[in-house]
């Protein structure tokens, strides 16, 4: 009975080395660690927290009322009295930038929430049911994508008159196509997965399979596209406001601050003024893009740590 190799067959207890392979780590923790490895994503997140903080606490931080005109101080250069100078009507640039952040972020977050909702529902239905319904919905998406977005936005804004609500609505109604394509793709590959088959066999209703079985598995790409989408909307809002078709003065927005920078007085006498709103747009969009990239890596199980 000294044959080698069958020793563990006896009554000796089998010890499993639990410390090595059987650690159960919550997925959130793994994702956070992956996210923190991406330095740019961390920088982006910090920037976003600061910018959002500025927007939320604008009334507390802002040194002055953003609409208060002190005409004797017009075109003051950055300095002690006005940290970032004053515009051609003598309004404090810093305060206007802080309040402008509120507008940009509000339009960005709310309209992207709307477009993600529309895009997810349409994409999920198209991908899950497939067939003719899918073909019709996707041709519709192709058509909407063919309109250069700025043309559509401007047309709708002229029809409904520019206001905060119009802008949010317009960006929501025409921003969903990318999400719809993405969600459809996810659903196409997930609908034949085994867990979906199992759910069907159990007689679970389609609506429930779509929303509580498949959708959670497609959340990663959706969140990433939402993050990148907010950056896009902020750029779009700035462009519309710059043309005078977005947020209307005296409400400050980064776009309409740049519009007033076209004023010859500012062009000749206050070269620093247009730099600030443009810089804020740049930093904010960059931060959203970095965070989006970081989230993409964090959600992707194929990318190992």
């Amino acid at each position: 009975m000294t044959t080698k190799g069958i020793a563990p067959m006896g009554n000796d207890p089998i010890f499993i080395d639990e410390s090595q392979n059987y650690i159960h780590e919550p997925i959130g923790k793994v994702m956070l660690r992956k996210y923190m490895k991406n330095k740019l994503a961390v920088i982006g997140a910090v920037l976003l927290i600061v910018i959002i903080g500025c927007a939320v606490f604008a009334p507390i931080i802002a040194p002055a009322d953003p609409s208060k005109q002190v005409l004797v101080d017009k075109l003051s250069p950055p300095g002690e009295k006005y940290v970032l100078g004053a515009d051609n009507l003598g309004r404090d640039t810093l305060s206007r930038l802080l309040y402008g952040a509120r507008v940009s972020l509000l339009v960005g977050f709310v309209s992207v929430a709307g477009s993600i909702f529309i895009g997810t529902v349409i994409g999920a239905v198209a991908g899950y049911y497939g067939g003719k319904l899918d073909a019709v919905l996707m041709r519709f998406v192709d058509a909407v994508i063919s309109f250069p977005s700025l043309f559509l936005l401007i047309t709708l804004v002229t029809i409904f008159e520019p206001s905060l609500m119009t802008l949010i609505g317009v960006f929501a109604i025409f921003g969903w196509t990318g999400t719809a394509r993405l969600v459809r793709g996810e659903f196409l590959s997930l609908r034949s997965a085994e867990f979906v088959l199992a759910a069907r066999t159990l007689g679970i209703r389609n609506v429930r399979i779509i929303f509580s079985h498949i959708l959670p598995n497609a959340m990663g790409p959706i969140i990433v596209s939402a993050t990148l989408g907010i950056g896009g909307v902020i750029l779009g809002e700035a462009a519309l406001s710059y043309l005078g078709l977005g947020i209307q003065p005296p409400t400050p927005s980064w776009g309409n601050m740049l519009q007033s920078a076209q004023n010859p007085q500012i062009m000749l006498g206050a070269w620093w003024y247009p730099l600030f709103p443009g810089f804020m747009i740049l930093i904010t969009v960059l931060a959203f893009n970095f965070v989006g990239d970081g989230l993409r890596d964090a959600f992707d199980p194929k990318i190992s740590e």
């Binding site: 047309t155 710059y242 062009m267 070269w271």
Partner: protein, 316 residues
């Protein structure tokens, strides 16, 4: 090949249909009806009814759509509400060449700058040069190009006086090529910046794909100089996927022209559109929107066909 071209072209037709339907629905949503803008407010009721009848405004919506579509196919986009009596098609024909020149020159600029940058980035992968180019591209994606335009006008035109602040030519001067080019440089460059970043990223990854291929290694092993391998063997193949990007760039180019033409007072389709938007000149707005979307569909169609022609591996 021919079958593919025919099939691909036929696929574009339903798309154009949906585009016209969406545009028509948007036009129907516009408040008020055209008579309110065109007519004397003191007009008698029976005259108003007669006008509405004459312009077909009392017809069923579907009848109106079919008539509008039929007119549009024959090049009749109606008349401008603001500039009364001027056909929309005449306005567009007058402005279109300016937009096309701007788009053509700026796409050449975008390609001339981005593709070499992408190639350098790919061949010197993970070097400081590569990282710098990548970083600048990231900045480029996040920067609103109208801001770049504004800042350039302020420094180069207003302060330095190197370039004119806008327009296609100096007013009151006789036509000269140099004057035209002088006016074109800034707007074309700024419009190009919109797509340069994306194009650089794209040509970088396309080149990286190609440089990993076996035939590149074979060429190197055969003793060809590095330059020959990169430009003759690598770039030629790396450029193929970039053709598709041309099609994808078109919407942002046409959309970008709206902003750039406004900043530089460049009298093209984009400026016409913004002017019409401010004046609520709906026939002009709708015509430009439909034409812009149709251009995008046609651009994608051409890009797909070119792609199929250049890449012999693809069979249809």
């Amino acid at each position: 090949m021919t079958t593919y071209i025919v099939r691909r072209t036929l696929m574009a037709i339903p798309l154009l249909f949906i585009i016209t339907i969406i545009s028509f629905i948007m036009m129907q949503m516009a408040p008020g009806d055209p008579t309110a803008l065109m007519m004397d407010p003191m007009i008698k009721q029976e005259n108003l009814v007669a006008y509405k009848e004459a312009y077909g405004l009392n017809d069923n919506v579907i009848v109106q759509y079919v008539r509008w579509l039929g007119n549009m196919v024959t090049g009749n986009f109606g008349e401008s509400l603001i500039r009364q009596g001027v056909p929309v098609s005449a306005l567009i024909v007058a402005r279109l060449p300016n937009t096309l020149i701007l788009m053509l020159v700026s796409s050449i600029i975008a390609f001339l700058i981005s593709i070499p940058l992408g190639v350098i980035s790919a061949t010197k992968r993970n070097s400081l040069t590569d990282y710098s180019i990548t970083f600048v591209s990231f900045l480029g994606i996040a920067t609103p190009n109208f801001w770049i335009g504004l800042v350039l006008i302020m420094f180069l035109s207003v302060h330095m006086g190197w370039f004119p602040t806008g327009g296609v030519s100096t007013l009151g001067e006789p036509f000269s090529i140099w004057d035209r080019i002088h006016h074109l440089i800034l707007p074309a460059f700024v419009l190009a910046t919109a797509d340069m970043a994306g194009l650089t990223r794209y040509s970088r990854s396309s080149m990286l794909d190609v440089l990993r291929q076996d035939y590149i290694r074979t060429a190197k092993a055969n003793g060809f100089r590095n330059k020959t391998v990169i430009f003759k063997h690598g770039l030629r193949n790396g450029l193929i996927p970039i053709i598709t990007i041309l099609g994808l760039m078109l919407p942002s180019f046409i959309g970008g022209s709206v902003i750039i033409e406004s900043i530089f007072a460049w009298p093209g389709i984009g400026l016409l559109f913004v002017e019409a938007a401010f004046q609520r000149d709906y026939p002009v707005i709708m015509a430009v929107v439909v034409i812009a979307a149709a251009l995008v569909v046609i651009g994608n169609l051409i890009a797909d066909i070119l792609y199929a022609m250049f890449d012999p591996r693809i069979e249809y």
